[in-house]
Structures are given as structure tokens and as C-alpha cells.
């Protein structure tokens, strides 16, 4: 069959088109015809269909995400906000930091290794596209039940993929999360975060301006990756002389990406770029339409100049291809030669594929024929928007009413019982040591990692002279969010905020990845609406703006959605990384203080899961002012040398925090249950706004004065001592026994 050109489309207005197979709704197809004043060509149809998909257009989530802008707190820190590849934050001394968390959930279920690997690759290119050198990655992960056979397939592949790609790029992995819950059985979550650093003047944006400027595509050759969907189109429009199968999975080449990073940074250093965009989902369709849409004029592309790996690709397939490790730059004509020279130096293939034009159209040619002629904004930024119906689920009340009271769930009443539950928690896959996973990640490369595995936040030094640094923590508790999405999202933020402060850094900004089920289910949509509202409100109160993020919907198997899982990343800054606070109890004799208030709050707790496999009630209460105060104390304590160790309390409560800090430091602790406090609640409640800190004896007075003056409850609960965790009057566990329980758990499950 012949090529579907614009001319052809004009002449054959009634030709049938596979818009439904491409995922478009009838009214969406009608709107495309209206925009163009004719039927779209095959290539245009492909572009609109993918750019108007949920993944690229945020059509279900946009109306809710708006709040992040509307409720944005006053801050001078934000240099670039939502809408670009990633937000950029001022961290002082002329430095800017960009960070973003994204999902690669579905691909990682189909092909765990490559899915996870290309997830890292994609987020790193987003950060690079802002003008920054990527300096660290993190990986918040969720898997199905730890003992499910499919977890044994999915987990090792995902971990190897993240390590395989990140290690080969030379990016230290400074943190992440691993959570098991059967709700993720058919939908593991692979979220990936990258942090990048640059000077203010190096910030780059994704826009094409200046008629006559050249469009350069560089990086890997374009192949048939990830165009499974568009092959309907190819098979309808074209004869069948080409390979029947188009791979739906993309394969990453981290070596190519490493070259792309070094090459791009050298190009930035020589100021050769006017605008730049990475190629991710929707490939060239996305990059060209977004660049043109954000720019001043139009753009003209000649697809014949694209370097191909597979010469049988049709124009629509070239436009849709999601081949990895590619970037698109806008370059002034007199800088093109030098640009290409640097690419040659790094063995990176580069090609001028078009130019910025005076007009207002994105025009794409194939074999000299016009196959795309569209207003770029209509593709990239003016996609459909839905007000999806939502309603509080009918089961929500019953779930919340099923609170884990003493009558509902048996609580241990003896020292022996408490001890058994402490060990049960420490050895539950969700609380156990994740070293089998984290040992597969390079945490040392680049030589600036100050805090990483096993710490509350990942921290890196960004200036070796001044010791300026940044830290990032990611958190998200699907169980809390299921019980109450508004509060659950706020708790995710509160926890990440607290983790950053516990390391000694001041929280500045937020990125988020919202992992939910199908937006077509009003229950799920309600969870989404509540969670975004909660997050936006909390960001306003805490003064930490959302700088960017990602939404992943349709995480469900049949009718059953995953727990709503907003993953929140908080970025903080620390003036002097040598003052950071680790979690380890490292000095015998230091005094242990519990900061904050402890209530009987066990809804959604790790205890209720590990001991009773129960989920019900309400999650812990959120008090954001308290979180802010706690943060201030933790930061001041670190800066002024009043605290030598700090660990935030979250899942598993104080008991689990003590286990981790003792094991990490190789020292035990003697703990006294405060007068009038129930030992069970003391050890296992998950009340928010709390941390345990180790205070040198010489600083006790000063530290107490500070807490009293600021009104933060601080209770002395014990001392770092010996080689056992000893809760006086209740039980003692030798460190060796704790270590035995806490380690080797994941290994044993996978063996």
C-alpha cells in the first residue's frame, strides 16, 4: 500500500482508520479531525494516539495535579517548577539541584531486568536534559508477597536490572525502599529517582526557538523498540514484507547512556545548546512536538535522516519508537560542527534531522512527502482532560471501623511476648535487612556518598571544598493510604521530610510518583483525588513545593487495584556534610532520647501486618507543625553537635528503630519504659512526628534546654550500652540474636 501522506489524507477523507485499536475514544478521534480540518494521516494518528494516552497526557490526573501549583508554598528555592523534565531547586553557593522520581511498573513486570534497567535509564536522561550531571539514584520498590513464586522471578530480575544499569553508569545508589505486600502481586512497582547537580547558569529547558536552528538527534540508533502498540497501524497501512513482530519491550544499553551523559555534559560546557529534550515514552513524537510546542515557532523534520537500526521501519514506527539512550537538541547553525565533533569524540552517533521554522506547524517528511502537518501544541500540551467520576468507596467505613484495638488483635502482655513480637518484626521481610538487594548496587562511585544504605536518607557532597551537600529520602505507605488516602499521602511526605531532617539536612522540595489502580474505577479515582489533595495541602504547610513527578495508573489485576501508593521524595540541603547525623549508635554511654509524643496508634502498622496479617482502622494522626518542629530540632542538634545519631520512627515503631540503630553501630542499648506508658504501645506504636536520638553526655543539658524552649517533648529512654537490646523489666535480646533474625531473610526467600 502507498504512503499515507497529508495529500492522500485530504483526498481520502473517509478512509477507515484504526483509532480504537490505538486506544483513542470516538470523541478524541473526532477532535483530531476537527483540529486538522481533515482526517489524520497514519503518522499523525500514531502521534496523537500516543501523546494523548494516559501515560503522556495525564488526562485523568491533570485536574488533580493542578493543586500542586495552586497550593504552592512561598519559596525562593524553586528555580524551575512542574512542566519541565524535572524541577530545579536552588541549594546555595550558585548550585542548583534537580531531582525526580518516575515509575516503570508495567515494563518491569513483563521483563523485570530490562524493564527496571530502562526505568533507571529514562529518569537519568530526564535529569541530564535539565543541564545537570546526574550524581545519584534511588529505587523505591514494591513486590508481591515475599514467599510467592512469582516474586522469585520478578525481584532478582528487577534488582539486577537496576544495579546493572545504574552501576554501569557510575551513579551511586543512595537509597530506596523494598516493601512486600500481596496487593502488588501482578503489579510490582518500580519507581526510580535520580538527582543531578549543576550551576544556576547551566539550566537548560526543553524548547525549540530561533528559526533556522538545527534539530539534532543523537545517541543510539532507532529500532523497533516499544512500538508493539503502533504495529496495528503498520500492519494496516503497509504490506507484510517486514518482520511481523515488533517488540513491546525496550532493551537498554547503559554503556551507550554513559557516553551520552559525558558527551552531553561536554556539549553543555561549551554552551552549544539552545534547547534539549530526552527521548522517552513516545520517542520522537514526544520530543519534537514538545520542543516545538514550548518554543517560538514551528519545526520541520526529515525522517529519512534518522539513523536506523532496522531499515524496515515505517515513518509512524520511527516516530513512535522508544529506542533508549537518545536525546534531541536544538543547536544554532554555527555550532553544529562543534556539536558533531564532540559526539564523534564520544563515539555517539549524531544527525541533523530538521530545523526550527518561522511557521507554527510541526511538519514531518518521509521520502520527500509531507506525512505530518500539525499544530504542535495540540499534540503535546492540549490533549484531552477528563473529570473522572469519583466517590468514597462503599467499603471504606467498614475498613476504618476495623481498628486494631486490644480486643480485636491480641497484644503481648509479658516480656516474653514483647520480645517475640520484636523479633517477628525484625525478621519480617518488610523490616528485615535489605543487604541482599543493596549489596548489588554501587554506593561508592563518584566518591561523594556521605550517607547511603541503611540510613534514613541518602546524602551526597556536592562541593568538595565547601562541603555543601544534599540529601533525599523517599517514602510511601500503601497500607496507611488504603486506610485513609488523604492522611496516607501526608504521612508519606511527613516521613520523607523527617528522614531528611534526621540526617541533618533542611527539607526544601518534593517530587512524587503516584502509583494507583484504574482511574476508570470511581473508588480508585477517589483515592487519587484524596491523596493529591492531602499531599498538596501538606506541601503548603511544610513549605516544600512539588517540583515534578509522575503518575502511574492502571496498576491492577482484573478488578483488584494495588493499595494506593503515593511515593514521596523530599530533597534537603546541608551546608556542611561533615555534620551529618547517621542512624548508628556508635558511642557507648550516649543517652537515648525519644522525641515527640507516643499514642496508641497501630492502624496499618507493621506490627498488625507481621503478627496478625491485619489491615484496618485509621493510620497515625498527622501533625505537620510538629513535624516541622521536630525537623528543626534534628537539624539544629546536628549542626551544633548535640546529637551523634538519629533515627526516625516509622514502620515498626521504636522497637524496630532501636534494632536498626543498635545493629548498625554494633552497640546495644539499655531502655527504660517511661512511667505510665504501656510497654507494647511504647515499642510498637507508629505515631508520627517522632525520632530517637543519641546525645553525648556533655550535651545533655544543652539539648534538653533546646527541646524545652522549643516545646518539643523529649523523653530520656535509656543509654547506648553493652551488646544486647535490653528493655528493663521486660526482656533482653543479645545483638547476635537480633542480627540473626534481621539478616538473611530475603536470601532465604529467594533460595
Amino acid at each position: 500500500m502507498s504512503l499515507d501522506t497529508v495529500k492522500n489524507a485530504e483526498q481520502t477523507p473517509d478512509a477507515a482508520q484504526p483509532w480504537a485499536e490505538l486506544g483513542l475514544k470516538q470523541d478524541e478521534y473526532a477532535r483530531i479531525r476537527e483540529i486538522l480540518g481533515r482526517r489524520p494521516t497514519g503518522a499523525e494518528l500514531a502521534m496523537y494516539s500516543v501523546m494523548w494516552s494516559e501515560h503522556c497526557s495525564y488526562k485523568s490526573s491533570k485536574v488533580h495535579l493542578k493543586q500542586f501549583g495552586e497550593k504552592k508554598p512561598e519559596t525562593d528555592a524553586m528555580l524551575v517548577g512542574i512542566g519541565e523534565n524535572a524541577g530545579v531547586v536552588d541549594v546555595g553557593q550558585g548550585y542548583a539541584v534537580t531531582f525526580k522520581v518516575e515509575s516503570h511498573n508495567h515494563p518491569s513486570y513483563i521483563e523485570p531486568y530490562q524493564g527496571a534497567a530502562t526505568g533507571i535509564g529514562g529518569i537519568v536522561r530526564d535529569i541530564l536534559a535539565m543541564g545537570a550531571r546526574p550524581v545519584a539514584v534511588m529505587d523505591p520498590l514494591r513486590f508481591g508477597a515475599a514467599d510467592h513464586p512469582d516474586t522469585r522471578r520478578v525481584l532478582p530480575g528487577i534488582v539486577a536490572g537496576i544495579g546493572g544499569y545504574g552501576n554501569c553508569l557510575g551513579l551511586p545508589n543512595i537509597g530506596g525502599e523494598v516493601v512486600f505486600d500481596s496487593c502488588y502481586q501482578g503489579n510490582p512497582l518500580v519507581n526510580a529517582l535520580c538527582v543531578g547537580v549543576m550551576k544556576h547558569e547551566d539550566i537548560h529547558l526543553a524548547q525549540a526557538s530561533g528559526a533556522g536552528n538545527k534539530v539534532i538527534l543523537y545517541g543510539a540508533r532507532t529500532g523497533g523498540d516499544g512500538i508493539g502498540g503502533v504495529s496495528v497501524l503498520a500492519s494496516e497501512t503497509f504490506d507484510d514484507t517486514k518482520p511481523a513482530k515488533r517488540p513491546a519491550v525496550q532493551v537498554g544499553d547503559p554503556f551507550q547512556e554513559k557516553l551520552l551523559i559525558e558527551c552531553t555534559l561536554e556539549i553543555f560546557r561549551e554552551k552549544l545548546v539552545k534547547g534539549i529534550q530526552d527521548l522517552g515514552g513516545a520517542g520522537l513524537s514526544c520530543a519534537t512536538s514538545e520542543l516545538a510546542s514550548a518554543g517560538s515557532g514551528g519545526m520541520r523534520i526529515d525522517l529519512d535522516t534518522v539513523h536506523l537500526r532496522d531499515h524496515t521501519l515505517s515513518p509512524e514506527e520511527i516516530l513512535m519508537s522508544e529506542s533508549q539512550e537518545r536525546m534531541c537538541a536544538i543547536v544554532e547553525p554555527d555550532k553544529v560542527a562543534r556539536f558533531l565533533e564532540i559526539c564523534e569524540k564520544w563515539d555517539v552517533i549524531a544527525n541533523v534531522i530538521g530545523e526550527v521554522t518561522e511557521g507554527e506547524r510541526l511538519e514531518i517528511f518521509w521520502h520527500g512527502e509531507l506525512v505530518v502537518d500539525v499544530p504542535p501544541r495540540t499534540v503535546a500540551h492540549e490533549g484531552p482532560t477528563y473529570q473522572r467520576p469519583y466517590a468514597r468507596p462503599s467499603w471504606q467505613d467498614a475498613l476504618q471501623a476495623d481498628a486494631p484495638t486490644g480486643e480485636r488483635l491480641a497484644r503481648p502482655t509479658t516480656g516474653e511476648g514483647l520480645r517475640a513480637d520484636l523479633l517477628k518484626l525484625a525478621s519480617h521481610p518488610n523490616q528485615a535487612s535489605k543487604s541482599w538487594i543493596t549489596d548489588q548496587y554501587d554506593r561508592y562511585v563518584l566518591g561523594n556518598t556521605v550517607l547511603s544504605v541503611g540510613e534514613d536518607s541518602g546524602m551526597i557532597r556536592i562541593d568538595e571544598e565547601t562541603n555543601l551537600g544534599v540529601s533525599v529520602a523517599t517514602d510511601g505507605n500503601g497500607r496507611y493510604t488504603k486506610l485513609d488516602p488523604y492522611t496516607g499521602a501526608q504521612l508519606a511526605l511527613a516521613e520523607a521530610y523527617r528522614n531528611v531532617a534526621a540526617g541533618g539536612a533542611k527539607p526544601l522540595a518534593v517530587s512524587d510518583c503516584l502509583n494507583f489502580g484504574s482511574p476508570e474505577d470511581p473508588d480508585v479515582m477517589w483515592q487519587f483525588a484524596e491523596a493529591t489533595r492531602g499531599l498538596a495541602d501538606a506541601c503548603l504547610t511544610l513549605g516544600t513545593p512539588v517540583t515534578g513527578g509522575n503518575v502511574s495508573l492502571y496498576n491492577q489485576t482484573g478488578e483488584v487495584a494495588i493499595h494506593p501508593t503515593p511515593v514521596v521524595a523530599v530533597l534537603g540541603v546541608i551546608d556542611d556534610v561533615t555534620r551529618r547525623t547517621p542512624v548508628a549508635f556508635a558511642e557507648e554511654g550516649q543517652l537515648l532520647y525519644l522525641l515527640g509524643d507516643t499514642e496508641d496508634e497501630l492502624g496499618g502498622s507493621a506490627w498488625s501486618q507481621a503478627v496478625h496479617e491485619h489491615l484496618g482502622g485509621l493510620p497515625p494522626r498527622v501533625d505537620l507543625e510538629r513535624e516541622r518542629l521536630l525537623g528543626e530540632i534534628l537539624i539544629a542538634g546536628s549542626r551544633d553537635g548535640m546529637i551523634d545519631a538519629a533515627h526516625d520512627l516509622s514502620d515498626g515503631g521504636l522497637g524496630q528503630a532501636l534494632v536498626e540503630s543498635c545493629l548498625k553501630g554494633g552497640h546495644g542499648a539499655r531502655i527504660v519504659v517511661p512511667e505510665g506508658m504501656d510497654p507494647f504501645v511504647f515499642l510498637f506504636s507508629e505515631s508520627a512526628g517522632r525520632a530517637v536520638v543519641a546525645v553525648p553526655r556533655s550535651e545533655e543539658l544543652r539539648f534538653n534546654d533546646m527541646c524545652t524552649a522549643r516545646g518539643l517533648p523529649a523523653t530520656r529512654i535509656g543509654v547506648v550500652d553493652g551488646d544486647a537490646l535490653d528493655v528493663q523489666g521486660q526482656f533482653t535480646v543479645p545483638l547476635a540474636e537480633l542480627k540473626d533474625a534481621h539478616t538473611g531473610v530475603i536470601e532465604a526467600l529467594l533460595a
Binding site: I110, G223, D225, D310
Partner: protein, 84 residues
């Protein structure tokens, strides 16, 4: 004992970064005239029993479900000829 060989190669449409790296290096080492290189895996299985149809069927199943990742790879199973 009989030997069965399972060759596993990336599907033709899937990117093969290793093969590409080798292909790019060859001319630099003075080996020209090689238009394409693909790199795959070779498994040599030593069978305890006879290599009959049943045994081969089982190995094909092992290749399909385990040795190859059929999302991205193809495989072939063959009996190694004598004397090799």
C-alpha cells in the same frame, strides 16, 4: 554421555549492545568485512540417559521456560554430533 546444545540468541529485532560493541571494535583491530555481529549464549547439557524424542522435548521445554527468556530471545536445541 550424550550432549545437547541449546543456543539462545536475542531476537533479531531486539537491540544487542554486546554484539554491536564487538562489531565496532573489529575493524579497529584490523578485522574488516564483517557486516554484523550478534552475541548469544550457548548451553552444553550432558544427558544421563539416551537422547530420544522424549528427552529432547523436555529440553525444549526447559529452554522455553528457563534457559531462554522468550520475551526477548529465541533458542534452538540440537544434538551435538559425534566426535566434536
Amino acid at each position: 554421555m550424550a550432549r545437547v546444545v541449546v543456543d539462545v540468541m536475542l531476537k533479531p529485532e531486539i537491540l544487542d549492545p554486546q554484539g554491536q560493541a564487538v562489531q565496532r571494535a573489529l575493524p579497529r583491530l584490523g578485522f574488516t568485512g564483517i557486516a554484523d555481529v550478534r552475541q548469544g549464549k550457548r548451553f552444553e547439557l550432558e544427558l544421563e540417559g539416551p537422547v530420544d524424542d522424549a528427552a529432547l522435548a523436555r529440553i525444549r521445554e526447559a529452554a522455553e521456560t528457563f534457559l531462554a527468556n522468550t520475551v526477548i530471545e529465541d533458542f534452538t536445541v540440537r544434538v551435538e554430533e559425534e566426535g566434536k
